[in-house]
Point group: C2
Chain length 167, copies 2
Amino acid sequence: MAEPAANSGQALLFLTDEQLRKGIEAMFFAYRGFTADPDRILGDMEYGRAHHRALHFIHRSPGTTVNNLLSILGVTKQSLNRVLRSLIADDLVSSRVGRQDKRERHLYLTDKGSALERALSDAQRDRMRSAYRAAGPVAVAGFRQVLEAMMDTDMRRQYEALKDRPA
Amino acid sequence: MAEPAANSGQALLFLTDEQLRKGIEAMFFAYRGFTADPDRILGDMEYGRAHHRALHFIHRSPGTTVNNLLSILGVTKQSLNRVLRSLIADDLVSSRVGRQDKRERHLYLTDKGSALERALSDAQRDRMRSAYRAAGPVAVAGFRQVLEAMMDTDMRRQYEALKDRPA
DNA sequence: CTTGGAATGTCAACAAGGCTGACGTATCTT
DNA sequence: AAGATACGTCAGCCTTGTTGACATTCCAAG
């Protein structure tokens, strides 16, 4: 067990290795569910989960730059570039040269890209909604609290920056 | 917004698209943190996340068969086989032909395998523990509830089967 | 007892999507 | 004019997913 009996030994049972292991396995199985629906939709096309992530965050922050997206997704530019190239080639994403800084490319979803993004996020949201509904508002608050505490500080900053955006 | 105003319009604010989106993004960023520490350890070796998963579940269910592991991990047997082959070659896992059914291979961790499994799960547990501690027991209960509701039914069965195992 | 089907596991080859390294180009900043 | 920054791209590697083909073993029907 992880905790010494020094801590008045009663309120800390949720920190036992056993409880932590259950949390770890719950994370593993739940994440599979979390990605399953969009993956199913994408499986029929030439795209994958990486494309979904790019579409999601471009949707969230229209006009974002490549560098910005890079730091949110936490991948290398070569990796992102491969994805973006195909999205742009297929007219799901448009890339516009920056007005102030012409080195930057600002990314936007096209109508076609918005449609796919919506289909994917609808599927994912449906599952999330039914999980939320089943668990109830108190559980949901706890869910978010634990997840936020689990992030790296850098990621949490990215997350917080997006969190309370208008829409 | 997702919910019609029909539902007495007050207790269901946690089911708005906005709230669901935050949950989705929290899942994304938290999962990165969740895997970051073991990944860092594995990055220095010739192994990856797939090896970690195999070690974890063999540790959990010593003597499990390949087929069993397959259904837990949700990958094809060919994919798992590659991982197992290297783990066996490096003497982290031992594979014994079944006594009753000689088609089956029963999998066990060697001492070396146990040591690596422990190192990886220690790292992951440390992060989980500090997240749990930061969020508190009520939040943790909610966390688990939502995750369980998010799983596919098949996965939930796998999860439940492991959940209350002795050790 | 034999034979065919089902189940288990292995090997081979391919694709997606990460990674590093190196380089070119345009643009901004000093 | 020089250096830094933003972006794109080529080449090559690794992990980890996929399908297809095949060997072994078990079991049940004839």
